[in-house]
Subunit: 383 residues, 2 copies
């Protein structure tokens, strides 16, 4: 374990239909993987799945450490990047594990970022109808968000995450030391979800993130550990109450309805965090325009995101017609109507009409026209 | 509803981690699909999935009936046969449903035999991370067995059902009238699983099946309804106690360890029911050879199966080396050892070493040598 002696490891319990599981947050967890696997996911064999980058950084070491400890472990790596999050790569990994002879008494370790957690998690969910899964997030977005809550899946041509399953892990091991190796840009992408956690449920955390933006962006480990822990606590509270997103869990989609549409309209040329950040700014404005969200909220959201280099609406990259088009195809739409999570203020979601709601189409059109519209440009306002 | 007035519909409740669901057994259920869907799986839109044969027999009618009743329903059909139970067909159905714009407020109706239930069930399990599923089995094997218990999945090159998920239906609608259109051979294939239900848990049912083999093979509806109901009750009792096959559910694999290996060794040129029937005969002999199974049990199992044209060991079609090879690759193997369910006698499984157990390899080799071996042929005994 790193540092002097025994740094604290925090544990957050997440409720799930398949049984509660802990999220451990602390330095040195990856170094202690063999013991932790034996404790939380005893198995005859282990499949460690990582992308090629993470395989070189941590995967090969992890497998070696398990083997030296007398365990049977194999590394299955795949090309890094969102382009691997497909049914094809899911098939390839499944077939390689079958060829290696892994049976029902095997367990899967998803070691990596959000793509790895989603892809390897979906393999684990469907391999011989499901084998135990351990999530070891190494990116900021996986650590603060994606590794908790049991969602797994892949992208298809029609959209992201449209095929998948809920498959709760046996344990999540979040080791903030692994974020040290992340490029600055990736760190910011993940922190967008942390800002979202503050925006929907914790005003004080929201402010603290803004204050600690410097150390967080520089990769300071104690600051990172503290943010990861608070985000995990918030996410755990939400998904424990509503694992399958029939109620409260919808609030985690704040910023995501417009965020996903923007991401799709940009053909995924901008990061998920950047798209969600823009979505949060726009959905805060939408709430204000509808008289639902406290005035000044959008300003506060923008100011905090700016400290992470986020929150800019990608004018020029996407156009409003494309965003409107993708809104209609949203996975969470009901009767063809997209659903929005609106803030009451920073730290609280408006819920008098349920945890998500439809809004007048005209309000969305007006919002997007103002944000992206050609009229604005024609008026001479900065684009 | 068929016949005079209101024939009885029986309901059997199945426990599941995702909530209990009923299996309804009775004539006229398919004719009343719209009302039943509204009651058990209210949804904005329905996707009815059938193979091309069943689409023509029942699928198109079912969709028309739903539409006349004011519901939004679409038929998605696929080429009949086990060759469609693949990841490729699963992708195709998923993409067609996405292209049709079905959202999370849609529900899936799997109308057909075992392939349809498994394939469409896996689509439902993974579509937008899971949509509600209604199983409407129309084949004998689907009705007495496959539609109950939540197993879904597809075949891959390495073996059958190696990729899949547990996805409990909202309701199972078993209408014995649909079995009238089945060819005799298919009826027998399904009844093999009914004989298995008797063999593992209900001596009296086992005997009754033997006595009613004539009417059952002729497609007599009351006899069919009675067998379907008893099989569903037995299966419901087992899977309610152990949905994920960590304990009691293993007893449903009686006949399947050797049955699957025989099926694979025959390159699936013989039916699943025929393979399982041969497996039951051989596993009863194995139990007798080990002193675990009451003497005479294998004889009784063989006699009953013979009435359905089943229970013959496919000498000449498969050879013992291939069967032994596939045994090592069994999905349910632990530490590389295949597991067997052995009878104590007809109607009772031996369980002093758990619900399944390994057996000495030499005993299996001897059994297969006797059943398939070249030595027997060389000795001049009939092959």
């Amino acid at each position: 374990v790193s540092d002097a002696g025994d740094p604290s490891v925090s544990s957050v319990l997440v409720g799930s239909g398949a049984g509660a599981y802990p999220v451990l947050v602390g330095e040195g967890l990856v170094a202690h993987l063999p013991d932790l696997l034996r404790e939380y996911a005893p198995a005859h064999r282990y499949a460690v799945v990582s992308d090629d980058n993470v395989a070189a950084l941590y995967g090969e070491d992890a497998v070696d450490r398990c083997r030296r400890d007398g365990m049977t472990a194999d590394l299955f790596s795949f090309p890094h990047g969102e382009a691997s999050k497909t049914r094809e790569q899911w098939s390839i990994l499944t077939d390689r594990m079958l060829a290696a002879g892994l049976g029902r008494d095997a367990a899967m370790v998803a070691l990596g970022g959000g793509v790895t957690g989603d892809l390897a998690g979906f393999v684990a969910a469907t391999y011989l109808r499901g084998i135990p899964l351990v999530q070891v997030p190494t990116s900021m977005v996986a650590m603060v968000d994606a590794s908790v809550g049991g969602k797994t899946g892949v992208d298809v041509r029609a959209g992201k995450n449209l095929v998948g399953a809920f498959h709760a892990p046996r344990v999540v091991l979040a080791d903030p030391e692994t974020t040290r190796t992340l490029p600055l840009e990736e760190r910011a992408q993940g922190l967008a979800e942390a800002v979202k956690h503050g925006a929907i449920l914790d005003d004080a955390y929201f402010d603290r993130l803004g204050e600690e933006a410097g150390p967080l962006m520089e990769g300071d480990v104690p600051a990172t550990r503290s943010a990861v822990l608070r985000s995990v606590q918030i996410k755990a509270r939400v998904v424990s109450e509503d694992e399958r997103e029939s109620g409260l869990r919808q609030i985690l989609n704040f910023g995501h309805t417009l965020g996903h549409a923007i991401e799709a309209a940009a053909s995924w040329s901008i990061g998920h965090g950047s798209a969600v950040a823009a979505g949060m700014v726009l959905e805060a404005r939408l709430g204000e325009a509808l008289g639902v969200t406290e005035a000044g909220t959008a300003r506060r959201v923008t100011d905090t995101l700016t400290r992470f280099g986020l929150g800019t609406v990608p004018r020029g990259v996407v156009d409003e017609a494309a965003v409107l088009g993708f809104l209609g195809a949203d996975k969470k739409a009901r009767r063809g109507q997209p659903r929005y999570v609106l803030l009451e203020r920073v730290g609280a979601v408006e819920s008098t009409r349920g945890w998500s709601r439809d809004v007048p189409h005209a309000a969305v059109v007006a919002l997007l026209a103002e944000a992206f519209g050609a009229e604005t440009a024609a008026d001479g306002v900065t684009t």
